[in-house]
């Protein structure tokens, strides 16, 4: 799956179209107040998908174990609050980010020496270990019952999470914005260029003398931190953590979201979750059995016929228009 060429050779200045997602988000906040809970979920998953995109799309590392970082972040934030009584939201975020980052560095150093199947296997094994730990360490994580009693102090002392999800929405939006800025900077830098290089042709990168291994660990860690923050956000907005944050079904779903949007593209991570979660919100309730089947079917179709996802399709249409 090759990425579109707007990556590293593109102009790093922000195009006007790139402001669209934020405008849409702001509009949603004012126009659709009853759907903000869904909106929060979408924002969190965009962040998660973004972190996965970095690793999968830009660095070309196939992993099914990203929920390890997501889940770790979620549980760290939760346990810090429920067990240690720390309810300051930013402290919780920082702790989650830190823990995920440490896990990212440690596991990255170990597994990034391997490739393909072994790498995939190891990512799954690591996630499984975390899942087992969370499952067994009932006193800390609540085990299969989940961790309730997570309290989050009002943000900046004034904004408490409300039933409608207004505060949560803004909170996650800001977090996503910051992440987006960071990722953008990363992609449009020489670092980003090297990432694409590593994905397209690893051997050549080695030959050119690029510190491939170290860079891989770096991007893996950054991606892990982002995923961890996304997980913490989920815990904070729900005031609850369950075992499913570490499950493979969630990892699979995020993967589908990303592929749907277009892997290797910055905005693939934006479009995918939006389309997926909105469709799920509506369709999964009407036809629960068909939803699951439909998702698999679409994934297969996308893989075979439209490997670039929605963004890829849009590009093709644009190119065809230009050619005509």
């Amino acid at each position: 799956m090759s990425a579109h060429l707007t990556g590293y050779t593109g102009d790093p200045r922000i195009r006007w179209t790139e402001w669209l997602p934020w405008i849409v988000a702001a509009a949603a906040f004012f126009l659709l107040p009853e759907y903000l809970a869904l909106g929060v979920r979408i924002l969190i998953f965009i962040l998660f998908a973004l972190s996965l995109d970095l690793i999968l799309g830009y660095a070309g590392i196939i992993t099914l174990g990203h929920s390890a970082f997501f889940g770790l972040g979620a549980y760290v934030a939760g346990c810090l609050s429920a067990k240690a009584g720390v309810s300051d939201p930013f402290l919780q975020l920082a702790a989650a980010a830190g823990a995920a980052g440490v896990l990212g560095v440690l596991t990255g150093a170990v597994i990034l020496r391997t490739r393909a199947l072994t790498l995939l296997m190891l990512t799954m094994a690591i996630t499984s270990i975390l899942l087992e730990t969370a499952n067994k360490w009932t006193s800390m994580t609540g085990g299969a019952d989940g961790l309730s009693g997570v309290t989050v102090a009002p943000i900046l002392g004034a904004f408490k999470f409300d039933l409608f999800g207004r505060v949560a929405f803004i909170y996650c939006l800001v977090a996503l914005f910051v992440a987006w800025l960071l990722v953008r900077r990363l992609i449009y830098s020489p670092f980003g260029a090297m990432l694409t290089g590593m994905r397209e042709n690893t051997m050549r990168m080695h030959a050119v003398g690029a510190p491939v291994y170290m860079r891989l660990i770096a991007v893996y860690t950054i991606s892990a931190v982002m995923a961890g923050v996304a997980g913490a956000l989920l815990t904070q907005t729900n005031q609850f953590v369950g075992l499913n944050v570490l499950g493979f079904e969630l990892a699979g779903e995020v993967l589908v979201m990303l592929i749907l949007g277009g892997v290797g593209r910055l905005y693939g991570a934006f479009i995918g979750p939006v389309v997926y979660l909105i469709a799920q919100d509506y369709l999964a309730k009407q036809f629960p059995e068909y939803w699951y089947f439909g998702i698999g079917f679409i994934l297969v179709l996308v893989v075979i016929f439209a490997p670039g996802g929605i963004l890829g399709l849009l590009d093709k249409i644009r190119l065809r228009r230009r050619a005509v």
């Binding site: 072994t118 094994a125 589908v256 994934l299």
Partner: protein, 272 residues
């Protein structure tokens, strides 16, 4: 040990064909369902039910291979991974629609129930049967791959497809048949294990990790490898649960990571 029978199919397809088929569990599940239905509703005797599981799954895999898999032989690993995950989703939905979320009941014939007395300890008859059966399978497969023309052709085609084709080997047909064999074995395993590992729609997801562990540990492209890996894993898992139940499956994963780091190609792998 059921893990072995199922995983050897995966080792065959992945090792010999280089295709990352995460949906292997789907074939095992399909075999399991067919087996249970044949045994229960259709009332077939045990051996026939097993054969039915094998045949049905093999045929199913041929259909899927022709229609879908073959398009992706040259696509990247990511595409294969994604595609097979998509397959899993679809299969899970179909299984749920057809069978509901309950596992179908499996009624073993009387001669396989109860216990046998071996070396002073009682062992469940069925499990002994499975171990023996798995052993037979590995013998059969090894013989097939190492000693027959078919096996030689497969090995040639995998090593260098273009060369094999130029020598006149029909690689298309070969791959299809090999895939069918691998998937049929999975179906057989699913059926055999249906009594112990419940066959339900979430089957492919739940046990994916285990299949992959067995294959990765055993080493791709090897037949002995997954067998030994499954044996070791089975013993270690049972031992852990017996002595230290608090650790649960923890040890298995830790051990996997350890072994894979020491030997990234698995215990007996010939290729990554």
């Amino acid at each position: 040990m059921i893990l072995y029978v199922i995983s050897v199919g995966l080792s065959v397809t992945m090792g010999l064909m280089g295709f990352i088929n995460l949906a292997h569990g789907v074939f095992a599940m399909a075999g399991g369902y067919v087996f249970a239905t044949s045994l229960g509703r259709l009332g077939l005797p045990f051996p026939l039910a097993l054969v039915a599981a094998f045949l049905f799954t093999a045929l199913l895999s041929i259909a899927l291979e022709r229609l879908l898999y073959s398009r992706l032989y040259s696509a990247g690993e990511l595409a294969q991974v994604l595609f097979t995950i998509g397959l899993i989703f679809m299969a899970v939905a179909v299984a749920r629609a057809l069978y509901g979320t309950l596992a179908p009941p499996v009624f073993l014939p009387d001669y396989l129930r109860g216990q046998v007395h071996v070396l002073g300890r009682d062992f469940p008859t069925y499990r002994v049967f499975i171990i023996a059966f798995s052993f037979l399978i590995i013998l059969g497969l090894w013989f097939g791959v190492e000693r027959t023309r078919w096996g030689a052709m497969v090995r040639a085609a995998v090593d260098h497809r273009a060369m094999a084709q130029s020598v006149g080997i029909n690689t298309r047909l070969l791959f299809t048949l090999t895939f069918a064999l691998g998937s049929g074995l999975a179906g057989l395993g699913g059926g055999l294990g249906a009594d112990i590992i419940a066959v339900q729609p979430s089957y492919p997801f739940e046990h994916l990790v285990f299949f992959l562990i067995v294959v990765a540990l055993g080493g791709l492209g090897s037949l002995r490898g997954p067998f030994i890996a499954a044996l070791l894993l089975g013993i270690a898992d049972t031992a852990c649960k017996y002595w230290v139940p608090e650790l649960g499956a923890f040890l298995i994963y830790a051990a996997t990571i350890g072994v894979l780091l020491w030997r990234p190609m698995g215990l007996f792998g010939t290729r990554v």
